[in-house]
Amino acid sequence: MSDLLAPFQYDFMQRAFVAALVVGVLCSALGTYVVLRKLSFIGDGLAHASFAGIVIAYLRGANFYGGAAVATIVTALAIGFVHRRGRVSLDTSIGVLFTAAFALGIFLMSRSTRATVDLSNYLFGNILGVSSSDVAVVVGVGLGIAVVVGALWRPLLYTSFDPVVAEAAGIRAWFIDYALLVILALTIIVSVQLVGIVLVAALLVTPAAAAGQLTERFVPMMLLSCAFGIVSAIGGLYASYELHASSGATIVLLATLIFFAALAINARRRRRLVL
C-alpha cells in the first residue's frame, strides 16, 4: 500500500492529483452536453484558439493564462455569434473561427523578432509542472463552473434536446448557448496546461461518449462520465509516473481504453437483446 501511495509523497504529485481530479470532473461533466449537442469539434477548436492569446501574451510579456482566456472566450462568443446571426452551422462556424485564431497566432509569431516561445507545454501539457497558484486557479474556475452548471442544468438539458420548443416555452436558448460556450472556453483554458492543446478535446468527448454507451438516461450518463473522467485523470497520472511517460497522453489513452471497453459491453448487450 505504501508503495502505491509513494508517488504522492511529493508536493508536485499532490498538486497534480488535485488539478487532475478537478479537470477530470469538469471536462467529463461538460462533455455530456458537448456529446449530446454533437459539438465534439468544439474542444479541439477552442483549445487551438487559445494559441493566439498565448502568443499575444508572450509578445507583450503578459500572463499566458490571461492571454489564453481572452482569446478563447472571444473566439467562443464569435463562434456563437456567427452561427446565430450568419445562418452558418455551428460546426462550420467553429471550423472558420478556430483556424483564424490559430493562424493569427502563427502570423504574429512569424513577424516577431523575439525568440520563438517554447510552446511544448501548451501543445502536450505538463501536469507535473503545475504550481500552487495554478491549482488555486483550477479549483476556483472549477467551483465557479459547478455553480453555473448547477443553476443552468435544466435549461442546458432542454435546449440540448429540443431547442425550438424550449425557446417557445420562454427559455432564452441564445443565452444558454453563449453561457455553455463561455464555460467550455474556461474549462479548456484550465485543462490545456494539464493535457495540452492537442489532447484536451479527448477529455471533453471520450468519457461522455463512453458513458453514452452504457446508459439511456441523462443523469446516470453525466455521473458515469464524471467517474470515467476521474479514473482517466487520476489513473493516467499515476500510470504516467510509473511508466515515465507523458501525463497528458497517458490520461487520454486510459480514457480511450475505457471508451472501447464501454463500446464492447454495449455491443454484447445489444447482441443479447437481438438473440
Binding site: G150, L157, Y158, F161, V165, A169, I171, G212, R217
Partner: protein, 243 residues
C-alpha cells in the same frame, strides 16, 4: 383582453412572402383551427405566435405582449415534426418533466406541484405504462402523445398545436380531441393547424382558412360550406402552389 391579437402580420423568407397581412383575435376558452394547403403559411403563423419568427411587418400580441417578452412557461408549443435526436438519453417521464423546466427555480428540486403536473399530464395522455421507456422505443403516436403531455405539464396560458393528429391512430386522435376540448372548457385558448376537415366542427369553435392571407373566418361548418377551402384546393391541384 384577447389571448392572441395578430395585426397585419407579414412574414417573408428571403424572396417568399409566407404570410401577407394576416389579422385575427383569439379569445380565452376558444379553440381556433387553421386549415390550408401545404405551403400556405399555417406553421409559419404558429411559429410567429410562439415568438420563434419575427414578423417582417405587423404585430403579434399574446396576453397583450410580444411573445418574446412573456413570462417563461406561457406558451406551450407542439411542432409538426419534432426534430430531436431520438437516441438522446431521456425517458418519456424525463421529456414530460421538461415542461416544468421554464418555471423551475435553479438549485431546487422540482416542487410537489411540478411533480403533480407531470403525473397529471402522463395520466391525461395515457402514458403511465410507457413513462420509464426510452423515447426511441415509442411508436409515432406515442411520441406525439409524449410531446403533447410535455406541453400540458407546462400548464401554459396558450397552447399551439401544429397538426397533432397527423400520423396518429384513431384512438390517439379521439383521446387528443377529448383532452383539448376539456382544456378549452377550462378556459385555455388553443390554436391548432390541421388537414382533417371531417372533424373540424368537433375540434374547433372557430376555423380560419389560410393561404398566405386569411380567406375565410367563422364557425367551422359555415367556413367549410363557404367553399373557400375547396377553392384553393382546386387551384392548387390545377396550377400547383405559388412559391
Amino acid at each position: 383582453m384577447n389571448a392572441i391579437e395578430v395585426r397585419n402580420l407579414h412574414v417573408r423568407y428571403e424572396r417568399v412572402e409566407a404570410l401577407q397581412g394576416v389579422d385575427f383575435d383569439l379569445p380565452r376558452g376558444t379553440a381556433l383551427g387553421i386549415v390550408g394547403p401545404n405551403g400556405s403559411g399555417k406553421s409559419t403563423l404558429l411559429k410567429a405566435v410562439a415568438g420563434l419568427i419575427r414578423p417582417t411587418e405587423g404585430s403579434v400580441r399574446v396576453d397583450g405582449r410580444p411573445p418574446r417578452e412573456l413570462p417563461p412557461g406561457t406558451i406551450g408549443y407542439v411542432p409538426q415534426i419534432e426534430d430531436v435526436d431520438w437516441n438522446f438519453p431521456v425517458s418519456v417521464r424525463d421529456v414530460v418533466a421538461m415542461g416544468r423546466f421554464p418555471r423551475a427555480a435553479p438549485f431546487r428540486p422540482l416542487s410537489a406541484h411540478d411533480r403533480s403536473a407531470i403525473a397529471g399530464a402522463i395520466e391525461a395522455l395515457d402514458l403511465g405504462a410507457l413513462a420509464d421507456r426510452h423515447i426511441s422505443a415509442l411508436s409515432g403516436g406515442q411520441q406525439q402523445r409524449t410531446f403533447v403531455a410535455r406541453a400540458i405539464a407546462q400548464e401554459p396560458q396558450l397552447l399551439l398545436l401544429d397538426e397533432p393528429t397527423t400520423g396518429v391512430d384513431a384512438a390517439t386522435e379521439d383521446s387528443l380531441l377529448h383532452l383539448v376540448r376539456g382544456l378549452v372548457r377550462d378556459g385555455l385558448p388553443v390554436l391548432m393547424t390541421t388537414h382533417d376537415l371531417d372533424r373540424a366542427a368537433e375540434w374547433f369553435d372557430r376555423l380560419i382558412v389560410v393561404d398566405r392571407k386569411i380567406l375565410a373566418d367563422g364557425a367551422p361548418n359555415a367556413v367549410l360550406e363557404s367553399g373557400a377551402y375547396a377553392g384553393i384546393r382546386e387551384h392548387t391541384h390545377t396550377h400547383g402552389h405559388r412559391r
